[in-house]
Amino acid sequence: MAKTKEATQQVNLEKEAAKKAAQEAKRQKKLAVLQKHVDVIEQKHAAKVAKLEAKKAGLDEIAASDIDHKIGALERKRLADINAAYEKYGPKKKVKLPLADKIYYTAIYIILAILLLVILYPVIYIVSSSFSSPLSVATGKVVLWPVDLSVKGYVEVFKNPDVWLGYRNTILYTVGGTIVNIVMTLMCAYPLARKSMPFKGAFTFLFTFTMLFGGGMIPTYIVMKHLGMINNPLIMILPGAIGVHNLIISRTYMQSSIPGDLLEAAQIDGCSDIKYFFSCVLPLATSNIAVITLYYAVGHWNAYFTAFIYLTSREYFPLQVFLREVLLLSQVDLEQSMEEGSTQVYGLSDVLKYALIVVATAPILALYPFVQKFFVKGVMVGSLKG
């Protein structure tokens, strides 16, 4: 008994030693990698410095001092690079977490994993279905990944003239509408952000009141009728030319992020209000402009109710109205495929729907990662204190 215990202890010890040795080897390996990276940086640095030194030899004093400056900059860069290498490849400090924190982190990672799964699964399912063959979609074989890879749905989508028409109209409304939105919103936000303007409060109220109370659907419809906006593509652009919420975001941004001293300095230099707007306000408000551009563009891309109420000719319909016809009312033309048998057609109409969902959403989703970094900032300055 004692012997076996000793033996197991021995074995354990050996195991531990082996583990330690493995760890040591790993550490050495990591250090070697780090050393390699540092060496590369040093070599490059030395080569650059040598080049500059060689240049310096035949030059006068002023030019030489210029090169000295360059060498100094290189030295700074070398140190920064080495630091970065240490951060990336160097030995990491391990912070030991208390048990309560370990439990907490495990819990939140589980919650996050569930949330991500819930968000992603429907999206993946739809994309996978759009790339599957009609038959496998009709028989419910698609679970996660595409089954019988095919692009029949996409072929069918792009064969449909309505999709092209809707796409063209939506792009026109989105681009035109967003340009009008941005111009009008900035034009309005700038004066309202200026402290000293008389009647500023009254003008602000004129706009914010419309957030609380409006004429409602029918009175607006009657006015639009009198303005000749029924079945007029301009209806997609003009009535929503300013979103009051975005206006407040912009105004607050201009008030809080552009220093007042700048205006005073510009005024002393004789800068007019118009010039100040173009040369100071606009360049300083780019992150705000990016955010409201995205908000407006998404709004236009996804708008369907205005079109639904006011537009009657199919030639003016935006994509969303056609999408409603196909996705929700299942009004879809599949004459070409009729002879292929009913299951085939049935599945085809579903694959077409999946493909259409992907085609209609992809452009706006492609746009948004570029603007994402501005979100928190844009929301922060525009929120609450309206």
């Binding site: 999206v123 009008m184 200026r194 409006g214 409602g216 006015v223 209000d273 928190v376």
Partner: protein
């Protein structure tokens, strides 16, 4: 020649003198009024300062017994009080002081307007826009009290008083739409409000920046999906024949499932949870922004004192975003009766109408979608709704101001 100019000059001087005298007289006349306003300003500032002093005295009394960290935070509080008071006083001085200056002739409104003409130039187009598209329709609400006919116009149609409203109150739809509107928006509020807050708190306690970024990118994404697409996705996934739900149901039971989209009982759950799916990430941005204001020093100090991460979330992060949560809750409560028609209308079908007809879809159906559109009736329903909304948001705001310190206006 020279004589003539001299005469002109003297005339001009006389004119100027008269003008100046008039101005002086006017200023003299305005003086009591200006002094009154000045006195008001002084009184207000004095009141604010007295309030501040009382609070500071209170804190100072606490200071005598407090020690260490608490002492520091009390000092901080005093500083904050002083700063807030100064800001409030400055605001009063600025806004009301202008009036005094104007009355005393130190500044003139005409000159101020003239100096800012370029700003008004910027405002011309937006103001014209807001008047045409937002204010011109407003008088149109009087058709709610008329039997409106297009050929007679808004002001020529027959006046029938509150008949339309009485008709709506007696309509069998009345209780149904009010109930459905309230159920859908209250359910959305209870299910949809806490999740973004919790999500923001979780996200904030993550340390891996890359994972954080990926998570936010993915969870914000559904916000950009249009309502039509969202409802289309819902219909495809819940399809009883080819959809995911139908396939799973058939796999386990061997029979076809009942269509959940036509189910009266399922409607509210589908509506609310698809909404939560789409918006919880996006709605958390505002809390994430508020959380970035938490000072890292606080966390460091608490960590040294042995607080766990969970305790720090509860006692540092949550209190910091409490004002934001309050304001968002006020906003949501004020909007409880205004439920948009876009998504409800798209999810509606004849079978689930009992659970899915809400005020705004009824307005649309009665007014525009019907074979015999009734503009007046539709407008009276929507006017009734907007008046309730107006009352709701104002009273909720009033309560918030009375109970806590936060309010919208």
């Amino acid at each position: 020649m020279g004589n003539k100019t001299a005469v002109v000059d003297s005339l001009q001087a006389e004119k100027d003198a008269i003008k100046a005298a008039k101005k002086a007289k006017k200023i003299e006349k305005n003086r009591p009024k200006a002094e009154k306003i000045q006195a008001q300003i002084d009184a207000q500032i004095a009141a604010l300062e007295a309030k501040r002093d009382a609070k500071i005295a209170e804190i100072e009394a606490q200071l005598e017994t407090a020690e260490g960290k608490k002492r520091r935070s009390l000092f901080n509080k005093i500083e904050i009080l002083k700063r807030d008071c100064k800001l409030a006083c400055n605001k009063i001085r600025e806004t009301k002081g202008v009036k005094v200056d104007r009355l005393l002739g130190k500044k003139s409104l005409a000159k101020d307007l003239k100096r800012h003409w370029q700003l008004y130039l910027f405002l011309i187009l937006p103001v014209v826009w807001v008047i045409i598209f937002k204010y011109v329709p407003m008088p149109g609400i009087i058709i709610a009290f008329e039997k409106y006919k297009f050929k007679d116009g808004i002001f020529g149609s027959r006046w029938i008083g509150f008949d339309n409203f009485i008709r709506f109150f007696n309509d069998y739809q009345f209780t149904r739409v009010i109930k459905n509107t309230l159920v859908l928006s209250m359910y959305s509020l209870f299910a949809g409000f806490p999740i973004p807050v919790i999500f923001a708190l979780i996200l904030n306690s993550l340390r891996a920046e890359k994972f954080k970024k990926v998570t936010t990118t993915i969870t914000y994404m559904p916000h950009f999906i249009s309502t039509v697409i969202l409802v289309g996705m819902l219909m495809q996934i819940l399809n009883v024949r080819v959809g995911l739900y139908g396939t799973i149901y058939t796999f386990f039971t061997g029979t076809y499932a009942q269509d959940p989209l036509s189910n009266v009982k399922a409607f509210k759950h589908l509506y609310v949870w698809s909404g939560v799916w789409q918006t919880f990430g996006w709605n958390s941005i505002i809390y994430t922004a508020a959380l970035s204001a938490v000072s890292p020093d606080l966390h460091e100090a608490a960590e040294i004192d042995g607080a766990t991460r969970w305790q720090r979330v509860l006692h540092i992060d949550l209190p910091t975003i409490m004002p934001t949560i309050t304001i968002m809750l006020i906003l949501r409560m004020g909007k409880v009766m205004s439920l948009g028609y876009e998504k409800v209308y798209l999810m509606q079908n004849n079978l689930n109408l009992e659970a899915s007809e809400v005020i705004s879809t009824l307005v649309y159906k009665v007014g525009l979608a019907s074979q015999t559109p009734n503009y007046s009736y539709s407008t009276s329903i929507s006017l009734f709704n907007s008046i309730i909304n107006l009352i709701l948001i104002n009273s909720v705001n009033w309560i918030a101001r009375k109970v806590g310190d936060t309010s919208l206006w």
